[in-house]
Amino acid sequence: MSKKFLSGNEAFAEGIRLARPQVISAYPITPQTIVVERLSEMVEDGSLNAEYVHVESEHSALSCAIGASAAGARAFTATSSQGLLYMAECLYYAAGGRFPIVMMNADRSTALPWNIYGDQRDSLSQLDSGWIQAYAENAQEALDLALMSYKIAENKAVSTPYMANLDGFILTHTYETVEIPDREQADRFLPPYETDNRIDFDNPKNMAFSAGPDTNYIFKYKEHEGVLAARDVINETEKEFAEIFGREYTGLTENYLTDDADYVIVTLGSIAGLCRETADKLREQGVKAGVVRIRYMRPFPNEELAEALKNVKAYGVLEKDISFGNEGTVFTNVNSALKKAGVNVPGYDFVGGLGGRNISPADIEKIYSDIEKGTDSVNFIGIGGGNNGK
């Protein structure tokens, strides 16, 4: 184990180096660029033995990774924002073909207006593509997700591609001290990829075929089962990870002071840290505040959320996303989880951080106070609720 001072992008690249992908195909885009720059340097200096393929677009980047995976290789790609949207067609191919590719996505705003800064509208718009979706909070978690991602994605019961999301700039470009596992430990944790879902000259197969109305729904059911199977596999993988590397993770969600909380913010990504600090401050003032950080949007933590929120007085979802004409998608998902579990507590949606706008400690204090007092169903931080706060 060594320690280095790394950005989120660099930490993720270190995790990928330890995971030994055999093919990397990526197209640079801000704020993802540094992760692929570091990986190309690792290939160049020989510390990562991979085929680095320069492609002409994100569509090609993921298509190339699918081809590599279909040849039985461990494949990696990375993108962000418009690049992820350009990949959208291929996302479904990768998931439907059950190719356990890993992608890092630097969460970034989508045009128009053009903007390179962070929000989560890019990846959340692709929740239905069939990929596992993880959201990292810090650089250490980013590295650890990179290493765990292949083990989860390649598990036979799962066989599903994996998207690890890092908040653009806030996480991809900020530096912190990161523990880097030893190569020997990493190899013990993650064996080489083996699969029957590959081109094999000795056993010719028809791959990536069509399926008509008679069987199509069975493929889709099995795809759904694969993502659901990741629930248990994520927990098992984190347990094994803790045994080897000593760092513990908490599955699909991470709870903070929720046991006795009256008011809870449910959020995801790097903003969770500030929410916890604010909860601490409010606790000193006698407000029983708590935080649930969603670590995985797919598979979705239905039961975990119902369990964490069943005794609260009210909750709010803080997300960097809006599904225009409705509400933030995270809020929709959380509400559904509670409804299914028969948990009936008031909840409010807080949309913030769009286009990289800062979310301040004062904003989060106001969210807690709005949750306590009650507010509009959907609130834009800095503007207001359904009537635009006027």
Binding site: S159, P204, K205, N206
Partner: protein, 97 residues
């Protein structure tokens, strides 16, 4: 190996693979219904050079007794074989119903 038709059957839930990969060449129907022109080989001229066999995008040409033979169950009538044949042994003829 020439393609051959298997009996069409209903796949049970368990028989449907987890992923989109399955035994190659598992064909249950012929597939040439949209062909409007068909290649016809003049076996007097054909030298069995295998150029048409190599270029056929559907893999429906085989060489039997030194001459090209076309499997009309799967030929789509694209005409590439006629274009590639240097000795003019393949001509495209209109399909007639």
């Amino acid at each position: 190996m020439r393609p051959y038709i298997r009996e069409k059957k209903d796949f049970t839930f368990d028989e449907v693979p987890e992923n989109t990969s399955f035994e190659a060449g598992y064909l249950t129907t012929v597939n040439s219904g949209w062909r409007s022109i068909r290649p016809v080989i003049n076996s007097e001229k054909c030298k069995g050079c295998e150029q048409c066999y190599l270029y056929c995008p559907d893999g429906v040409i085989s060489i039997e007794d030194g001459k090209a033979v076309i499997d009309y169950d799967f030929c789509k009538g694209c005409g590439i074989c006629a274009k590639i044949c240097k000795i003019g042994a393949i001509e495209m003829e209109a399909e007639r119903k």
